[in-house]
Amino acid sequence: MTRPGRDEDPDRLYTVTGGRSRSTTGAETFDLVTLVVSESAPVRGMQSEHAAILRICRFPTAVVELAADLGLPVSVVRILLGDLLAQGKITARHPRRAQTADALPDPDILKQVLVGLRNI
């Protein structure tokens, strides 16, 4: 796994987060599947991770996916997202909130739709 000194970036995670190890907004704001949407374009002089998040999140993107894209641990991504949320540059959509039990279609209906589609 280790090929010391090669092909790694020199900046360490604590410099990426500015020394914070827990997000100020808390883990409940961003869980793994929270969808993040950027509300503004990246501006010059922004931390590169923030800019990257804003670019990726032009389309709603899950936190875990962001972490994979950035190559950063989820905890670190949460901290960065907390910064952006505090600045109002992103919004977080919680999938669970959208799926309250009554708002969802009935499984039977879905099954019927599926069968119907197959029969086409």
Binding site: D7, R12, L13, R22, Q47, R55, E65, L70, G71, L110
Partner: protein, 584 residues
């Protein structure tokens, strides 16, 4: 009669001692001639005076009365003898005087000659020999190359000196190399520990664990910097090498991560330039030392500001603190410490290694460092990185992904794990572990999927590797001048073949759409399988998640990309029931 008997002894007696005293001073040939000359002259004077005195005595005796003749003879004889003695002594003294003076002059000349030879020995010969020894010559070489010495004594001195200096030089070199060796080992340990810590940071999701790991990471980075400093001072190679240009932001963060008070450092940089890989470590280390100085010599509440400015001659980085104002003398001393030519460590005190390190690094990489009072009230240090060391960030890393992720150019290769997308180097190492890791993760439904997933997998990895993120366009395939697919560095040939095959497959409409739907269902399953049990193995599943989405987006309609993750993430139970149905 009596006078000849009396007079010669003084002549001989005085003549010989004179010659005898002259002997040690003068050489071996001249004393004989001068002594002989003195003796001859004295004898001549004696002879002449005896003759004159005897003639005068005889004349006086002849002229004298008969009765007084005896008395006259005695008196005249005595007077003659006295006269003879006086003349002889005078003549001898005069001659001796002359010869002694000549000997003295000769002695003085020789003394001056010898003094000149001694001066030459001290001022030219010895320094030449010592310098030759300092430059690594052996004692024998140095002695052989030394200019000839005037005397045996000097030669002996020179031999002893050469041996001793050579021995001292050997000891110094041995101590230096021992230090360098030890520093190198500590560096290697710190580097591998940093890699390990990075991996652990990715592995552990718990915030408390992460906090501890980050702290350890920070300590480790500081330790690495000290080892780097020792390596620089002992003349060893710098510890790490970067194979690619490092963007300025990473340079600055890498530098500030190595000091204790990094949280007080504020970066003000909009620069997009990168520093060439071979110099990046040196620049980082130099900046770290300057930031450390700035942070240490300013109140713990004040901030250290770092500005980056692109100028015609390169890039100027300013490190300003709000601490102690350095006086004129202190500024000059600091510049002196940086410029200090002498490579010895004797001028260093234990606590002030920083500026010497800065000086060494600046000389090595051709950076210019200057000090001035700061507008913040403290001291400002200006570092100019010459244009030769500045490059734009690597083109191919930024170019393919402008829409969603131009920024990740620095961040995409950050992932150290084999499973992470975008890890640049060994392809074999990467693709295989990625597959291996991901298989057990996704669990049983995964096995039910036959070929389509594997292909998607490959495609997803493909895109990740080539840096194409969630673009709707097909994966950027590079073609060489010959029109054949070009293998990217670190990519396997099989991967290239697959990549070139994928566009045709996706263009084929029924197959393409099927695979797209397939991929989506698979996506659901991935989300389904992972969401409840995400915490232990976050990293590989996260990577997989991204891969699937990319694969789906690459194959499917670009319009759908926005909506794709919605159903996947929305209802685990639903999608699982769906997929159950799908398989029946």
């Amino acid at each position: 009669m009596t006078s000849p008997e009396i007079s010669p002894p003084p002549a001989a007696g005085t003549g010989r001692p004179a010659a005898g005293t002259a002997q040690p001073v003068t050489g071996t040939t001249r004393p004989a001639t001068t002594g002989g000359g003195t003796a001859t002259g004295t004898a001549l004077a004696l002879l002449v005076s005896v003759v004159v005195a005897s003639v005068a005595t005889l004349a006086a005796v002849q002229a004298g009365d008969e009765s007084a003749r005896t008395a006259i003879a005695w008196g005249a004889g005595a007077a003659g003898a006295v006269l003879c003695a006086a003349v002889t002594v005078a003549a001898h003294a005069r001659l001796t005087n002359r010869s002694l003076r000549a000997a003295l002059a000769a002695g003085n000349a020789r003394a001056a000659e010898r003094e000149a030879a001694d001066n030459h020995f001290a001022d030219a010969t010895v320094p030449t020999v010592v310098e030759r020894l300092r430059n690594g010559g052996s004692a024998e070489t140095a002695l052989a190359e030394a200019p000839p010495v005037a005397s045996e004594a000097q030669r002996r001195v020179l031999v002893t000196l050469a041996r001793e200096v050579h021995k001292g030089e050997n000891m110094r070199a041995a101590a230096m190399s021992a230090c360098a060796n030890a520093a190198g080992r500590v560096q290697a340990l710190a580097t591998s520990m940093a890699a390990d810590l990075r991996e652990m940071e990715h592995r552990h999701a718990d915030e408390d664990v992460l906090a501890d790991l980050l702290q350890l990471d920070h300590r480790n980075a500081q330790m690495g910097r000290i080892a780097d400093s020792i390596a620089v001072l002992t003349g060893a190679r710098s510890g790490r090498r970067w194979a690619k240009p490092i963007v300025m932001e990473s340079i600055l963060r890498g530098a500030m991560g190595r000091i204790g008070g990094y949280q007080r450092v504020r970066l003000h940089s909009t620069s997009e330039v990168a520093v060439a890989g071979h110099a990046a470590e040196g620049v980082m280390h130099l900046l770290a030392e300057l930031m450390d100085n700035a942070a240490n010599f300013s109140p713990p509440t004040s901030e250290v500001h770092v500005y980056v400015e692109e100028v015609a001659a390169g890039v100027v980085i300013t490190v300003e603190d709000g601490g102690l104002v350095m006086g004129e003398v202190a500024l000059r001393r600091a510049e002196q410490a940086v410029l200090g030519e002498h490579g010895d460590l004797t001028a260093l005190s234990g606590t002030r290694l920083g500026l010497a390190v800065v000086g060494r690094l600046a000389r090595k990489h051709g950076l210019s460092v200057s000090f001035r009072p700061s507008a913040h009230g403290g001291t400002g240090v200006l570092v100019r990185i010459p244009r030769e060391l500045i490059t734009e960030a690597r083109h191919e890393e930024r170019a393919p992904a402008p829409p969603p992720a131009a920024g990740p150019a620095p961040s995409s290769p950050r992932a150290p794990l084999g499973a992470a997308p975008g890890t640049p180097p060994p392809a074999a190492e990467r693709t295989r572990p990625a597959a291996d890791h991901s298989r057990p993760d996704t669990g049983p439904p995964r096995q039910a999927e036959p070929v389509g997933t594997a292909q998607h997998d490959a495609q997803g990895h493909e895109q990740a590797e080539s840096g194409g993120y969630a673009t709707a366009a097909p994966p950027p395939q590079q073609f060489g001048e010959s029109g054949l697919p070009k293998r990217r560095r670190g990519q396997t040939l099989a991967a290239v073949a697959r990549a070139s095959a994928t566009p045709s497959r996706t263009a084929d409409s029924p197959h393409g759409s099927r695979s797209g739907a397939d991929g989506r269902a698979d996506d659901d399953r991935a989300a389904d399988g992972r969401a409840p049990a995400a915490s232990p193995k976050k990293r590989p599943s996260g990577a997989r998640f991204g891969d699937f989405r990319r694969a789906v987006q690459g194959a499917g309609d670009p319009e759908e990309t926005g909506q794709t993750p919605l159903p996947s993430a929305s209802s685990p139970t639903r999608s699982s029931s769906l997929s159950e149905d799908d398989t029946e």
